[in-house]
Point group: D2
Chain length 142, copies 4
């Protein structure tokens, strides 16, 4: 089991004053939590540079549901990737546009490829991918 360690960090007083102001404006409860978030963000960014790393991701898609077949093609892509697609949200934005957010699990390169396939469909207007590195999942069927 992991335990908590206390690390001392030397900071110039001006830098510390600016950091404390940022911490307040972002709503952090204390400095430790803010530093931990910076460290975790850097670690996950580095981990995701490895195409074979495991990750959880969400694909954020805006599309025109009047466009023939885009909904059908999105469903098809999700069903042919049953191992990686976990869940999705569908939101009606206006008369034309839908938002679909699809949560995926797998290797970074696989998730990026599926996200590319979805984003490049005719009718999909915008695609964005968010990723977080996760520990290797031994139950993941590969």
């Amino acid at each position: 089991m992991s335990k908590i360690e206390r690390v001392g960090v030397a900071l110039d007083s001006n830098l510390l004053a600016e950091f404390d102001q940022l911490i307040r404006s972002k709503g952090y409860p204390n400095r430790s939590e803010a530093v931990r978030d910076l460290i975790r963000a850097k670690l996950t960014e580095t981990a995701l540079e490895v195409p074979d790393a495991y990750a959880i991701g969400s694909v954020f898609l805006v599309y025109d549901h009047h466009e023939a077949k885009v909904a059908e093609q999105l469903t098809h892509l999700q069903h042919t990737h049953l191992l990686t697609v976990i869940a999705s949200i569908h939101v009606h934005l206006d008369h034309h546009n839908c938002l679909e957010v699809i949560v995926l699990k797998g290797r970074v390169a696989e998730i990026q490829k599926l996200a590319d396939q979805m984003t490049s469909l005719k009718g999909v207007k915008l695609g964005r991918l968010s990723l977080a590195a996760v520990a290797c999942d031994h139950n993941h069927n590969h």
Copy 2:
């Protein structure tokens, strides 16, 4: 109603050959769709620089549900922002970690502020925000 226009673009043959290769690797059905995606991505990036612009967003959060009160605080933040939170997905990643993806609608600055408040909670390990600009929503209560 909008109609389709055809625009001619002059491209060096080498640049066109490289672009065609990218189009194939990303899975685009044709050049027009690939160019439209580039244009839309640039437009939405520019639109989102304005804090007052309307947007749809998803906040992607990884958190430790053993951390006292993080789930409760996330729920509380969503309920005190009823106007902007539309829906959410919750996924169990492993013994410790959960993923929550929360879809929000509102002005860019409001969404960013709420995303900051969620990301800075103790127990939340990673926060990522995806945004798309949307047309002004006249039914949005402000």
Copy 3:
């Protein structure tokens, strides 16, 4: 004059082990320097969101010097912005292509505008802008 303060940060031992590995791979001399860099990067990113903030920037441009007038237009843009352009480097990349890196000082919005004007010139193939927030410069003529 600023002095050095020592701040204690509580870290889970697993997170600390991963951070120590990152520190070694990036070549940091110690944890304090790595944490300071994370804090400074976040502070400058936040400061640069304000269009009126003062900044130092470099515009990184790849262009085809055979393209009529691009060099002349770049020189013209620099000379009509004498207040902001500090210095530049010019590098011959190959028979066609040059790299020009131009260092600018001024308000974020002004630097971005000049960088846009340079990037959009016919013959300029790629433009990238790097920015760092600087303290307000009272000698800057506005």
Copy 4:
């Protein structure tokens, strides 16, 4: 030798109107140049994902020249990488701070490593790397 080809792109009239407005605000002379820039930016972004690809880069460093040895260490790093460092600019920002912009040529992974070593030096407050993919350089000594 490369020649110019003309490609037709089908665009919804609303999307075209928004694009034309962006083109004007960025200062592009015409639509073709704006589309070419979008294509080139996407191509270079994709090319740079390959660690072995050749690139030209600039490292943008803000550092405190009062910090013992940082200037000396930066010079040392540049001299031990003679193959890749092409040129540099040095600018005095204020009593404490200097900007140094260093232009480098080599493989993406090599440039990133050297940029990391420079950024992680004690006294260096901020490091940013800009990269452009270049055609393989057969005269590059490896």
